[in-house]
């Protein structure tokens, strides 16, 4: 009798787990991630490629003074795109373009919170200089920026998209990502 009761309880709980799994968008991917057969190396490389593309696109947008060529390739959420083009527009209105060159990029850490969300901590060195928009003559010294960036990614349509990023100084402690921020995506 006790055995039968136990069997009923276990079977019902397994059914409850199966029922809850139906609410996950991609249950098979989720199970693979949970049991550790997720292609971590492949996904890590895909995140690295996305970071590289993100930096290259940003440098292009700034140097061209806001040309939208290559916008489709830019792996960023619309809010990030808006933030960048607002800044370029403010520079243009002041008569400047910002030439930003990424010198070095050292990916320190990539963390997957599930199959569709990841964050990356990257040490980057950028050289920045303002130029006159008409003559392209420098109007400021070349400034070296040694930064630590935290990128927050979501996988959309098979591509890792930057949903947001935070900029820190090299010696700053990086606080944990607030769960509410992740849950919003």
């Amino acid at each position: 009798m006790a055995n039968r009761t136990l069997r009923i309880c276990i079977l019902s709980f397994v059914l409850a787990l199966a029922g809850a799994l139906t609410s996950v968008p991609n249950p098979w991917q989720f199970i693979k991630y949970k049991v550790g057969i997720f292609d971590k190396a492949g996904e890590t490389q895909a995140v690295r490629d996305s970071i590289k593309q993100f930096s290259a696109s940003i440098a292009g947008f700034y140097a061209s003074g806001g040309s939208i060529q290559g916008l489709n390739m830019f792996p960023a959420d619309n809010t990030v795109k808006r933030r960048i083009f607002l800044d370029i527009q403010i520079n243009r209105e002041s008569g400047f373009v910002l030439v930003a060159d990424r010198d070095r990029s050292d990916v320190k850490q990539i963390t997957f919170s599930d199959t569709n969300h990841a964050s990356a901590i990257v040490n980057e060195a950028w050289f920045m200089q303002y130029q006159n928009i008409g003559t392209r003559k420098p109007v400021s010294d070349k400034k070296a920026n040694y930064l630590t960036l935290r990128y927050l990614f979501k996988k959309i349509g098979g591509k890792w998209i930057v949903m947001d990023f935070d900029v820190y100084g090299r010696n700053d402690s990086i606080p944990p990502v607030q769960q509410e921020r992740l849950a919003a995506w």
Partner: protein, 345 residues
């Protein structure tokens, strides 16, 4: 030929009830714990998940069948009259609980509002925190006004955690026009005009002042930030500036590891840690600011002059609770009596 009595016996069996009960409770627990998602579902959402609702309806129908079959004598009687009364009580408890869950799924309204001391909120279903409103088909959003008069946190762990936050409100029912003071807590929900209020988060709202080149204040406002516990970082931006302002707030001075301002470290009073970025540029590295101390940002400067506590208050109207609570009490009572009888037998 199908034996109706056998079919009914299976439908009203204890095994089926146990299976359905474990399935419903398990489904609810899995969602509350957040096994398959980065964050837990709220209680309301977890309770109204389709699988939980289906199991609850099935349990309710079974309890009703059990009551009927017992009354007309199809179900074999218990060992004693007391045993039969317990069966009736447990079936009634399950029926009340299941009906309550169903009613809740149809009528529950839930919303969250964040108010700093001195702030007011008026609602007819609008003004709640983005994404916090869950309104069922027949929900009746409360028409009310709330004025946050005081937020009193009770800390432990050297001010890094709170065990309760007491929010003192002036609550006005817009339908009746009656205003009354209310005290809402984080520890337990408070019932007011048929609404359940509970504090779900706490932090500080910081007042910034943006000054122009001549030093005159050109913009100032309070910004609500997730600035608790001390050291938690949140950010805000202004429509007039491409900068993002990352701020931490230390009510009782910053730790030695924070910031590099000569005026900051070792301070015992409130301190703000500020970092300003502009896309891929660090405009102002992390530094500590005393209240009113200015951080230069090119031609402009920013300072923080005040910090007032805010509380996040969850407002729930759920008619299903009035059936669920007695149902749970009856079931708990039945379990206690059964355990007590088992010990004395």
């Amino acid at each position: 030929m199908v034996d109706n009595r056998k079919l009914v016996a299976v439908a009203v069996s204890d095994e089926l009830r146990l299976g359905l009960g474990v399935f419903a409770a398990g489904s609810l627990l899995i969602r509350l714990v957040g096994v398959f998602s980065p964050v837990s579902d709220g209680f309301g959402q977890a309770l109204h998940a389709p699988v939980v609702l289906i199991a609850a309806v099935a349990l309710g129908i079974q309890a009703l069948l059990r009551l009927i079959t017992q009354t007309i004598g199809w179900l074999p009687g218990g060992a004693s009259e007391g045993h039969d009364r317990l069966r009736i009580a447990s079936n009634l408890g399950v029926l009340l609980l299941a009906t309550g869950i169903l009613l809740s799924s149809l009528t529950r309204f839930e919303g969250t509002v964040v108010l700093a001391e001195g702030q007011m909120f008026g609602s007819g279903g609008v003004g709640y925190l983005d994404g916090s409103v869950h309104s069922s088909w027949y929900a009746d959003p409360p028409d009310m006004k709330i004025m946050m008069t005081q937020v009193i946190p009770s800390f432990y762990n050297h001010g890094r955690s709170y065990w309760d936050v007491n929010a003192l409100l002036d609550y006005r029912n817009q339908t009746t026009g009656i205003t009354k003071p209310a005290s809402v807590h984080a520890l337990f929900p408070s019932l007011l005009d048929g609404l359940l209020f509970q504090v779900s988060d706490f932090g500080y709202s910081l007042r910034y002042q943006l000054s122009g080149p001549a030093g005159a204040v050109i913009d100032e406002a309070y910004v609500i930030l997730k600035s608790f516990p001390p050291g938690a970082e949140d950010s805000f931006s202004l429509s007039t500036s491409p900068n993002i302002f990352y701020v931490k707030y230390y009510p009782d001075g910053a730790p030695a590891t924070e910031g590099s301002s000569p005026k900051g470290n070792g301070k015992t009073g409130p301190v703000f840690a500020l970092r300003v970025t502009r896309v891929m540029d660090l405009v102002s590295p992390s530094r500590l600011l005393a209240p009113g101390e200015k951080a230069l940002l090119g031609q402009e400067s920013i300072s923080f002059v005040d910090a007032v506590p805010w509380a996040e208050v969850r407002v729930v109207r759920d008619y299903g609770v009035y059936l669920m609570l007695p149902g749970i009490c009856m079931l708990v009572g039945v379990i206690v009596v059964r355990l007590w009888r088992g010990r004395t037998a």
